[in-house]
């Protein structure tokens, strides 16, 4: 396979936090329509890996390539194709859900401003569109952040424990969203301590600190 193959290729990545080596020599390739689930005990380095893949942190050694180009290259257009949601919800508590999503669309150039209300309804935030997010419950805040997924045009989603604080209905809905994304040719990298069930997609499992990849269907 040529170097410029579309998708995310990870080459010989090593990660060290403080003086503790988390993993070395991690290699993997994620292509269209695939899901990578990163597992591992608490403290095994899942968040650290995801931040490296999003370009928010630098690995100790090794490269991350997007469509064959290092992600730090400007012309890799990586930031156009990426959506990252970390441990923090990434929304402004002072603004209402609608205003938060407006901001998001203009920051990432997603066109559909009229899709906002729709996305909020789908996530069960009917009646809360105009309440400042500080007055929402823990799970409702996460739902606002996750509404971004419904409007995003990014091909690669990197989600760090998206199920935190969500109730069962919200998780089920989210999994249907994942399924649609992947079936449309998207990619998904996800961590979670809860089971993930997205049927009919190629699921790759990486159980840190081991760097061996396992494939499940």
């Amino acid at each position: 396979m040529s170097e410029s193959a579309p998708g995310l290729r990870i080459q010989n990545i090593a990660c060290t936090r403080g003086y503790r080596e988390l993993f070395t020599d991690l290699n993997l390739l994620l292509e269209s329509g695939q899901i990578l689930r990163v597992e591992g005990e608490n403290g095994s380095g899942k968040t650290s890996l995801l931040r490296i893949l999003a370009g928010l942190a630098q690995p100790e050694s090794g490269d991350v390539l997007w469509n064959g180009l290092g992600i730090e290259h400007v012309d890799a257009c990586y930031s156009h194709d990426l959506l990252y949601l970390g441990h923090k919800p990434g929304i402004k508590f002072e603004l209402t859900p609608v205003e938060n999503l407006c901001m998001f669309t203009s920051l990432f150039g997603t066109k559909s401003e009229n899709g906002i209300e729709d996305a909020l309804y789908q996530l069960g935030l009917y009646g809360f569109e105009d309440v400042p997010c500080s007055n929402l419950s823990a799970g409702q805040k996460r739902r606002v952040a996750l509404a971004q997924l419904l409007m995003s045009k990014a091909r690669l989603w990197i989600l760090d424990e998206p199920y935190t604080s969500l109730d069962v209905a919200a998780i089920a809905f989210l999994e249907s969203v994942f399924k649609k994304h992947v079936q449309n040719g998207g990619m998904l990298i996800i961590t979670s301590h809860q089971p993930i069930t997205v049927e009919g997609c190629l699921l790759k499992r990486l159980v840190l600190p081991s760097t061996v990849l396992e494939e499940v269907h």
Binding site: A54, G55, L56, A57, Q58, C77, S79, H80, L82, Y84, G86, K88, P89, G90, I91, K92, F93, E94, L95, E99, C102, M103, F104, S106, L107, F108, G109, P132
Partner: protein, 226 residues
């Protein structure tokens, strides 16, 4: 691409102003602080008219420095804490432009109202009219520099838990030239001397800050968020 960048720029500017407006009572806080700090001096030193007038430019400028510095917190801190700063960094637009939008909104919310308030404080401190006018001119040139330079310091300290005090250490020394030339300009004008030199220096500092500060700030932000 161009239009989407300007759209992001305007959206960010608008959002920050919206946030400020949502807390419009907090909008006034830097101003109250500005007034309060100026008021502390006559209380602490002397109510004497001529003495106060001599101190006036320095005192008002020190208060402006402190008010501007203390309001820097709203520039990146909240965005850092709720994770939106991460999202801004991940956006596909050049970071320095987005940063400039944030700095401009900071200035509009803190620096600009201080300029409008200066005459009142001038009267408090017995400054004559020509002194007040020069004071306002120096504030017009100086307060944007404060916001721009302060942004660099804020970006460097945003990820530190107790960054507040460290910020003042980083930023105040950089503010000092602005203070010296501005206060000096007002003093000189009161003594009927020419002030073109000071104004010229302030303008070129402003130009320098506008070109360099956004770049430095965005580099600092990337480091802080690692």
């Amino acid at each position: 691409m161009e239009t989407s960048l300007s759209r992001a720029f305007i959206a960010l500017l608008k959002r920050d102003l919206q946030l400020a407006y949502r807390h419009r009572n907090e909008l006034l806080n830097p101003l109250f602080f500005f007034i309060l700090v100026v008021a502390l001096f006559p209380l602490g030193t002397t109510p004497d008219k001529t003495l106060l007038m001599t101190m006036a430019p320095g005192v008002i400028w020190v208060a402006a420095l402190l008010a501007s510095m203390l309001s820097l917190d709203s520039l990146f801190r909240a965005d850092y804490e709720d994770g939106t700063l991460e999202q801004i960094l991940l956006s596909s637009h050049p970071l320095s432009v987005l940063v400039l939008a944030k700095i401009i909104s900071h200035w509009l919310v803190t620096g600009f109202p201080m300029i409008l308030l200066a005459p009142l404080l001038g009267i408090f401190m017995y400054l004559p009219t020509n002194g007040i006018l020069t004071l306002m001119l120096t504030l017009v040139l100086g307060t944007p520099i404060l916001s721009l330079v302060g942004a660099i310091g804020m970006a460097l300290t945003v990820s530190l838990r107790r960054g507040g005090m460290l910020l003042s250490l980083l930023v105040l020394p950089l503010y000092i030239p602005v203070l010296i030339f501005s206060a000096n300009a007002v003093d000189a004008h009161l003594a009927d001397m020419a002030i073109t030199g000071q104004i010229y220096i302030l303008s070129s500092m402003l130009m320098l800050a506008i070109t360099l500060a956004p770049v430095a700030t965005s580099a600092a932000l990337r480091i802080s968020l690692e």
